[in-house]
């Protein structure tokens, strides 16, 4: 197939499918039903290190986790979740919550939507156990 046909076809196709999924409401980030769901989401990534304590964010999109090894974050990856330890994290206050910069090529930056109270409290909880 000539490139002059393939290229516009691919660009339009990709954009079209992305927009369509968005219009169909398939862009909502994952919600953690309760602390048990947050715990399960953590254990899905780190099965050997179960949380001792779980703090859900007010909108239940993220959770702060404390384990025997250290503290960590569970957050949405689209409709699913992933998790990371916070060792080496740089935490910055933003207008909508916190930004966590990690020395991890596969998870360099996490934006957490938190209310004022959480944005004040979470960094101390993160450091206390890190």
């Amino acid at each position: 197939m000539p490139l002059a046909v393939l290229l516009p076809l691919v660009v339009a196709g990709i954009a079209g499918i992305a927009v369509l999924t968005y219009l169909l409401g398939l862009s909502r980030p994952a919600v953690l039903a309760d602390t048990a769901a947050a715990r399960a989401a953590w254990c899905r990534e780190f099965p050997d290190d179960a949380p001792r304590r779980v703090v859900l964010s007010h909108d239940r999109h993220a959770a702060l986790v404390e384990t025997a090894t250290g503290s960590g974050i569970v957050w949405p990856m689209g409709a699913d979740t992933t998790a990371r330890y916070l060792s080496g994290a740089r935490i910055t206050r933003t207008a909508t919550g916190l930004r966590v910069d990690l020395p991890d090529y596969t998870a360099p930056r996490i934006h957490l939507a938190l209310d004022d109270d959480e944005a004040r409290r979470w960094p101390t909880l993160m450091e206390a156990s890190a």
Binding site: V10, I17, E45, D48, R84, D104, Y105, T106
Partner: protein
């Protein structure tokens, strides 16, 4: 004489079909409310990875092609272009695919390229297009050398490889449960390949097949999809980014960071490149064997069931 042989570039011609099938699957899921899941950024990343794969083929394809043509100059054998030669080529190239794919999961250097195909937590037709950008650097074109030396023309081999990839497109779906028994017995199917994408301990390192599932049965890597255990898709440690560049290169970066650590022996540096994914010099990470072992220590009743080794000495006697 057959130096000028040319076959259609089947993968690019299949692009409109891929898009139509994705739309059909998406509407099926939305209308029926079952049969899989779509998410915007996940699908977008998969599609961009697919486009990048085609792009990297256009940019770097000449390396493999040059290598194949050099072999073609050397070999005294020419099997010609009869239909049965093409058919035989397709079957043998599928065997080639099985081994390249198996190396792709068992040698970290090759996994660094293949990992991105497994990096989605979804399993739908867009996942099929989430393909590597760095395949050329794995040197897996070497595995095709015997085919060309045996007298299969490089263009025929690449044509069969393209058909193989197109076959694998439709099996990336949850909209199809199981195919008829005879088909499941011989062919790779959505059910078999869902297992391959599973991050469950049971499903790790299973079902490497491209088109014919018989290779896994022959070489002992077949694991059936169990009714009682749905595959959980993605990586053992899921990515925290949708950025296609990070998806494409993260394991190469991981290898680089591991290899340049101070204080390692040269053997350890080599092992970080060539050992199975999860190998580490200090045992701080888990390979698939370790993950299976840990699962069995938590769930001893699973020993000997599909995907898990049998208990070492059978039932314990006292």
């Amino acid at each position: 004489m057959t130096d000028q042989l040319s076959y259609p570039d089947v993968v690019t011609w299949a692009v409109p079909f891929f898009m139509a099938a994705i739309l059909a699957e998406l509407f099926w899921i939305v209308i029926k409310g079952r049969g899989g899941r779509y998410e915007t950024r996940d699908a977008l990343t998969s599609l961009v990875m697919g486009a990048g794969n085609v792009g990297s083929g256009l940019l770097l394809g000449f390396i493999a092609y040059g290598f194949f043509m050099a072999l073609w100059q050397i070999t005294p054998l020419d099997l010609g272009t009869a239909w049965w030669v093409v058919l035989l080529c397709f079957v043998l190239d599928d065997l080639r695919y099985y081994w390249v794919h198996r190396f792709g999961h068992r040698i970290r250097w090759v996994w660094a390229s293949h990992v991105n195909h497994h990096s989605s937590q979804h399993y739908n037709l867009t996942t099929a297009l989430r393909q590597t950008w760095t395949g050329t650097f794995t040197f897996m074109m070497l595995v095709r050398a015997p085919l060309i030396l045996l007298g299969f023309h490089p263009a025929m081999v690449l044509f069969c490889g393209g058909l193989n990839l197109i076959y694998q497109f439709w099996i990336h779906t949850e909209a199809i449960g199981k195919m008829p028994r005879w088909f499941e017995a011989v062919m790779n199917t959505p059910s078999h390949h869902r297992v391959h994408h599973g991050r469950n301990a049971r499903y790790l390192d299973a079902n490497y097949a491209g088109v014919f599932i018989v290779w896994d049965k022959m070489f002992g890597t077949f694991v059936p999809e169990l009714e009682a255990e749905r595959p959980d898709y993605g990586l053992v440690r899921n990515l925290g980014t949708f950025n296609p560049v990070r998806v494409a290169f993260h394991e190469w970066v991981g290898i680089f960071r591991d290899v340049i650590q101070p204080g390692l022996t040269w053997r350890e540096r080599l092992m970080y490149c060539l050992a199975p994914p999860g190998w580490s010099h200090d045992g701080s990470r888990d390979t698939s064997e370790a993950i299976k072992r840990k699962h069995l220590s938590r769930n001893p009743q699973d020993a000997g069931t599909p995907g898990f080794p049998a208990p070492p000495d059978g039932p314990v006697q006292n």
